[in-house]
Amino acid sequence: MSEAGPLPRPEPQYATAGQQAEAAAFGMWVFLATEILFFGGLLLAYTWLRASHPEGVAEAGRHTKVVIGSVNTLVLLTSSLTMALAVHAAEQGRRKALTRLLAVTALLGLLFLGLKGYEYHGEWTEHLVPGLNFHEDSPHARTIELFYFLYFLLTGIHGIHVTIGIGLIAWLALRARHGAFSARHYTPVEVTGLYWHFVDVVWIFLYPLIYLVGRSGP
């Protein structure tokens, strides 16, 4: 239970620690803006595929595992809550709460990846992996293959982001346990929180595009 803690000295280019913290958050947002475009190109490809071949995309969507996808959405939303609570605990200098909440967030991230891996395994056994074992008897087979191509790219890149996030958060949890943060210095927690929430936001959009398309059909 550290109280305010020593005031960290800002790096020479900053006038105050507050300005330094603001610059760190700004830098993360600039990075997140590039991330929007990173995912944006793939989402554009998805939009084109769906607009040009609606029936095929609907059929492909019905192959996805909606239960795992929905549970995983719940897991990520909950991990965003624990991350927000972790930042709040850091603001108040509550070291134990901060350490625990960061650990829970990382564990929820691991649960997400575990479920995703189980899902990938199912897709492998159902011969839905383009380039490796794709096989589908349907007039829309080519569209379904393209859908799954985008599916693996989007969820794969998202999964890499989740993996990086878990690593960062686990590292923060270790540092928090050793008292590296205080109510006056918790910028790494705050900035990593922004990253984690962004990864959650990306999933919020991937979820309906992947799992809910075509559900109202036959």
Binding site: W48, L81, H197, L212
Partner: protein, 110 residues
């Protein structure tokens, strides 16, 4: 558990409620593009909740908000300028307008 801000718990509850709503609505047959419009509308609502309450974007300094807005602006440019091509192009060729290439036997692929 002291000091848990209720606003965070309410935000989470709202996110879960919206998740349930979008999942349920996906199974209801609707005319035209209404399904996807509703699903994306709910996604936007969820994203706004996360941005506003978890990421505190709207209380951030103007420069930070500008960085976030720039990301969305260039995403809009990406989609809008691409649409000028794809929305004005037929997926299936109207007729064979191309000069012979010697690879015509491949044209049945898609």
């Amino acid at each position: 558990m002291t000091g848990i801000p209720r606003s965070y718990l309410f935000t989470w509850a709202a996110l879960v409620a919206l998740l349930a709503a979008t999942l349920g609505l996906a199974y209801v047959p609707m005319p035209g593009p209404l399904n996807i419009v509703l699903a994306l509308g709910i996604s936007v609502a969820k994203a706004l909740l996360v941005l506003a309450l978890f990421m505190k974007l709207f209380r951030a300094p103007a420069l930070t908000r500008a960085a976030a807005a720039a990301g969305l602006f260039w995403l809009a440019v990406l989609f809008a300028l691409s649409a000028t091509d794809y929305l004005t192009r037929k997926v299936d060729p109207v007729g064979d307008l191309s000069a012979p290439t010697g690879r015509e036997h491949r044209s049945g692929d898609r």
